[in-house]
């Protein structure tokens, strides 16, 4: 395995008495695509919230690129190079599609308010760069998020396009690690196929390491170098897709008894 980019060491999380994540170890190597699967309520989204600093773990340490990021605020973690999408879409709905993406460049741009007031040449150059960056990130989705939609408000986008915009926005933070929370949820089979191809492309062309939560086993099979299965906040299986899909614990977690049906 390549060098470890993200490493969770014995992470625990409890909400009151509810132990949502228990002593979880997990790592993601540079350039890998790792999928997290598990039934609803297994703690997958909570895992993302812990990595991005939205929640503080009740125990354990999170190491990113060799440095501990436990206890940092979310925006600091984002600046270190972790970006995410939200399972329950959280776009800036009343801003234009382009502005949604431009806003995410905040962390790696510098122009302060006073330079903005004076519109110094440096500030204007940076603004132009942000614009180009946003357009490049949007262009990644080709036809689906075409130019003439960029000035429309985000609320006018269809559900599938909002999911795409979430990804475009996350990539505008210039991350090294991309966390995708159910990117194919609510998409039809054709779009699901597109997303599968796109995630692979995000790695090859964008150079991102990717940790993805996904329910659709076709997607998981299509993209994953490695699959991790969670249930009740505990890792119940880890390995290649075939290994995990046939693991008795996973089968039981999903179905109680019987074989694991491919969707």
């Amino acid at each position: 395995m390549a060098e470890k980019l993200l490493e969770l060491q014995g992470i625990s999380m409890a909400f009151g008495g509810l132990k949502c994540i228990q002593a979880l170890d997990l790592d993601v190597g540079e350039g890998e695509i790792v999928s997290v699967i598990g039934p609803n309520g297994a703690g997958k989204t909570t895992l993302f919230n812990l990595i991005t600093g939205v929640y503080q773990p009740t125990g354990g340490d999170i190491v990113f690129a060799g440095k501990s990021i436990t206890g940092l605020e979310p925006h600091q973690i984002t600046r270190r190079g972790i970006a995410r999408t939200f399972q329950t879409l959280r776009l800036f709905l009343n801003m234009s599609v382009r502005e949604n993406v431009m806003a995410a460049a905040y962390g790696h741009t510098k122009a302060g308010v006073f330079r903005s007031m004076l519109r110094t040449p440096g500030m204007r150059r940076e603004e132009q760069e942000i614009r180009e960056l946003a357009e490049k990130r949007l262009a990644f989705f080709g036809d689906r998020l075409m130019g003439y939609r960029w000035d429309q408000p985000a609320y006018s986008l269809s559900y599938a396009n909002r999911r795409r915009l979430e990804i475009a926005r996350a990539t505008a933070t210039n991350p090294r690690l991309l966390l995708l929370d159910e990117p194919a949820a609510g998409m039809n089979p054709k779009e699901t196929q597109e997303i599968t191809d796109l995630i692979s492309l995000l790695r090859t062309e964008g150079g991102y390491t990717i940790l993805v939560i996904e329910h659709d086993m076709h997607v998981v099979e299509g993209i994953s170098d490695r699959v991790i299965a969670l249930n009740h906040g505990i890792k119940i299986a880890e390995g290649s897709f075939d290994e995990v899909a046939t693991s008795p614990q996973v089968v039981e977690a999903y179905l109680g008894t019987g074989g694991m049906a491919k969707k």
Binding site: A111, S116, S158, Y159
Partner: protein
């Protein structure tokens, strides 16, 4: 991929899509996104002459609007040499500055700052400390004004700091408390630990006038007339602040403000330091309020605690909300409209005209030109004259109380509305409460029943106006602000120039 987009959500529209694509092979396929956006466009776009005018006005660049507005404003003191008009123009210019500042906090930062006026007061007092006889410090304006701005921003920062997360309720209470503290300290500040700091209720006197390049601008000209130069100075400051804020709003900071107002968690996770951004908007607002305070002190050469209390806070908020929180041109428009309205309401004659004009416009807006309109207008007229003559026939003292000064509207009112010579003490509360109650009942009725009730309600409104409200101009002003806010909430929640906002689809 050029075909229709088969998003799951677009299914219900498929019929419509096919219809639009079958028009011709060259017409572009309309996906759901385009459909939503175009539909939204079409709904806001008007047809006909009005639509053409609106479309033309839309392409006028922002600076042209600003320049025209400022030019017209500059003409005011030229057009009228009345000291009153000049003074009101100055006040409105100050209101515009204050509204711009509050817009940064409320409209952009999304923070409920109920202590905003305290920063206005801090600016006014700080200037008096730095440039008056009180401490014998007489810093020149070009030193004291920037210092005051820094003091305002710092205080704003410090007040915002303890309410760490700065979520709505906490911040509102902390800032409200701060305003109270400010008022208490300034009113009792003539004996703070044995020192006279703020002059107490008597305020601070003999503040220095504005000095520009070693040249002092006297606040009053010979003849006691107010010096319009101050209005021009404030207007110039307004332009600078307006343009600077506009540029900030179009920068990464402005984008971040808008993002955090939409979804603070998403903004934070996308790399924007939400807490510092909020603090920044808070400090910005405080700085602008403090800056406005300096000019008020200069012009009146004095500062009193009572100038900075709750009524002013409510007025500035109304301006921002009416104009459209978040929109710079909107809040300036709000400041001009409310500022003018409040002045007109001071005068019974003017306010009477305003009142009847508002009623007529309201009825016209509700019924357009229809049979119902004719019925309501005729009905109300007849109702009034009948009521007036019955009352007059039984006892002349019932209708002779009108103290209205000249003018057609006043004459009309005197012959139409019952205005007793002596109004019994119970009349005011009873008529007022029944007016409100009947207005509420009105919202429950429909069709002709509503119209039948509307006629006496309109008459009752006129009765309350003539007998209760005109006699009490001060509370009337605030009641009218309240009515404006309620009407706005119902008919145009985004304010006059606010952007249409979609919460969740």
């Amino acid at each position: 991929m050029s075909g229709g987009y088969d998003d799951e959500l677009s299914r219900p529209l498929e019929g419509a899509l096919e219809a639009s694509t079958s028009e011709g092979p060259t017409s572009p396929a309309v996906g759901r996104d385009e459909w939503v956006a175009r539909h939204g466009d079409n709904r806001t776009r008007r047809g006909g002459l009005l639509g053409t005018v609106e479309a033309r006005l839309r392409v006028v660049p922002w600076w042209a609007w600003l320049a025209t507005f400022v030019a017209l404003f500059c003409l005011l003191p030229v057009a009228s040499d009345s000291g009153y008009v000049r003074r009101v123009a100055f006040d409105i210019a100050i209101y515009m500055l204050l509204a711009l500042g509050l817009n940064v906090v409320v409209g952009w930062g999304g923070l409920l700052d109920l202590g905003y006026i305290a920063f206005f007061g801090i600016g006014a007092y700080a200037y008096a400390f730095l440039s008056s006889d009180h401490y014998g410090i007489h810093l020149p304006s070009f030193v004291s004004i920037p210092l005051v701005v820094v003091i305002g921003a710092t205080t704003g920062f410090l007040v915002g700091l303890p309410s760490r997360r700065l979520t709505g309720d906490y911040l509102a209470i902390v800032t409200l408390f701060f305003l109270l503290l400010f008022l208490t300290v300034t009113t009792n500040g003539d004996d703070l630990f044995g020192h006279n700091v703020t002059g107490g209720a008597n305020g601070l006197l003999n503040a220095d006038p504005l000095s520009l390049f070693g040249h002092e601008l006297p606040p009053t000209l010979e003849g006691g007339l107010f010096n319009p130069a101050y209005m021009y100075v404030v207007l110039a400051v307004f332009v600078v602040v307006y343009v600077a804020l506009r540029f900030v709003n179009l920068s990464r900071t402005g984008r971040a403000w808008r993002s955090l107002r939409e979804d603070p968690l998403a903004a934070e996770v996308m790399g924007m330091p939400v807490n510092s951004l909020k603090l920044m908007s808070f400090a910005f607002g405080a700085a602008i309020a403090a800056l406005s305070g300096t000019f008020v002190t200069m012009l009146s050469a004095s500062v009193f605690p009572l100038s900075f209390s709750f009524p002013l806070l409510i007025i500035i908020y109304t301006m921002v909300i009416l104009g459209g929180s978040g929109s710079q041109p909107g809040v300036v428009l709000g400041a001009v409209l409310i500022g003018t309205l409040l002045e007109l309401l001071r005068d019974p004659g003017d306010s009477r005209v305003l009142f009847y004009a508002a009623i007529v416009l309201g009825v016209l807006g509700a019924f357009r030109f229809s049979v119902k309109l004719a019925v309501v207008v005729a009905g109300t007229f007849v109702f009034g004259f009948v009521a007036h003559s019955i009352a007059g026939a039984s006892d002349n003292a019932w209708v002779n109380g009108s103290g209205g000064e000249g003018g057609g509207v006043a004459d009309f009112a005197a012959n139409w509305v019952i205005v007793p010579v002596h109004v019994a003490a119970w009349v005011a509360p009873v008529s007022y409460v029944s007016l409100v109650a009947l207005a509420l009942v009105l919202t429950l009725l429909h069709g002709w029943a509503r119209i039948a009730l509307l006629i006496p309600v309109l008459y009752l409104a006129a009765f309350v106006w003539e007998n209760v409200m005109i006699a009490q101009p001060e509370p009337t002003r605030y009641i009218i602000l309240g009515v404006i806010l309620i009407a706005l909430m119902i008919f145009r929640p985004t304010g006059l120039l606010g952007e249409k906002r979609v919460e969740i689809i």
